[in-house]
Subunit: 156 residues, 3 copies
């Protein structure tokens, strides 16, 4: 079975450096075999800042999906940074996908799939497909289009 | 002491088939003795679709309460589907009740009681009364009036 | 190293009695060495009720920060009430800071620092600085300006 790193390579994804906190928190905190990741937002990989705006108005559905996928690339970078290798991820347990929405935008599950489709691609269906909640937020930090946190189980 | 199934019968509640995911996630994911449930929404039991709208505008307080109770019936169906029996639920640890609100609607705790009142009725006060957060969301998937997720402890 | 109680004294903070639930839930629920705290809101310490309003409109940034700090004082009171002593807190794992925002207000991380700055002051950087998500909510219970929940690890 290909490793998560093999799968990333096959997808043509090179993980960036892990994001740094913008305030008083850490990007991840471990307790036993559980790892809590902070809410990550969709920073562009070219360093031009956060993808901002409201899905259903400033961003199309496809752009929203891509923002969720981009956010997940940062989550993966944090996982690898914390654990040394994505091989140490036993399972993604729960994802909370928060989408910055224009009034009346309810197509939230398809936007959140930008996250969980990639998790399944990288970790496989068993380990990578999590429980999930997906919701439409009034506002997000920095005006980000998407914020996502997760809880993962870690190999001992 | 009556079992959760006895209590459901006494309440006249017959659990429906567990909901299926509408996108890339699973309805529940287990890790050790913890079970994470995805955000569930208030699908009508007659198959007519989701109870949609904003509490405080499209839905009255009582209709919002009933939507939270209905959502919880689906959460119970998922718990039974995953565990084989509600007897396997050791405790409901944390509930996150997300209410789709009209601007200015702040009576959120009473709406969320539609969930936790039923959990207490089914599992008793000790096991069934959880820690809880209840909030007012800008939008929810499919326009649902209520979305709820939870974390439960499972008997070994 | 000063104890959390020493640190509170040095900060001039006297913890109030723990808040009581306003509906069907408990303020905290323990499972093994994990303690889930309910969403707490910013009740004034003088008993005059909740600090209500939207940050970015009714409340300034500084007032929002103070509302998050006040909410955290209640979280600390619940932790001490549940555990007997703040010494029993091994670590704060995850904080979810929900800010009641005016449209367009995106300075959410600095408001949420009203919580995590105090946690670091009380428990130190290692134990007190958690993973965090911070978001802007459409509405909160009672119109509160801030609601925060957390998960803590408890000493055996």
């Amino acid at each position: 079975m290909p490793s998560p790193d093999d799968r990333l390579r096959a997808l043509g994804i090179e993980l960036p450096d892990p994001l740094s906190p913008v305030a008083t928190y850490r990007m991840a905190k471990r307790h036993g075999d559980m790892l809590y990741l902070s809410g990550h937002v969709c920073f562009a990989l070219d360093g031009s800042g956060v993808i901002a705006g409201k899905v259903g108005d400033d961003l199309s559905d496809e752009e929203g999906y891509q923002a969720a996928r981009l956010t997940t690339i940062h989550l993966l970078a944090t996982l690898r940074g914390e654990l040394g290798s994505l091989d140490a991820v036993a399972a993604v347990l729960k994802v909370f996908a928060m989408v910055n929405v224009a009034p009346g935008f309810t197509g939230i599950p398809k936007i959140a799939d930008g996250c969980t489709d990639l998790l399944v691609d990288v970790f496989g269906d068993d380990a990578g497909k999590p429980a999930r909640a997906a919701v439409g937020m009034a506002e997000l930090p920095l005006g980000a289009a998407v914020e996502i946190d997760l809880v993962a189980a870690v190999r001992p």
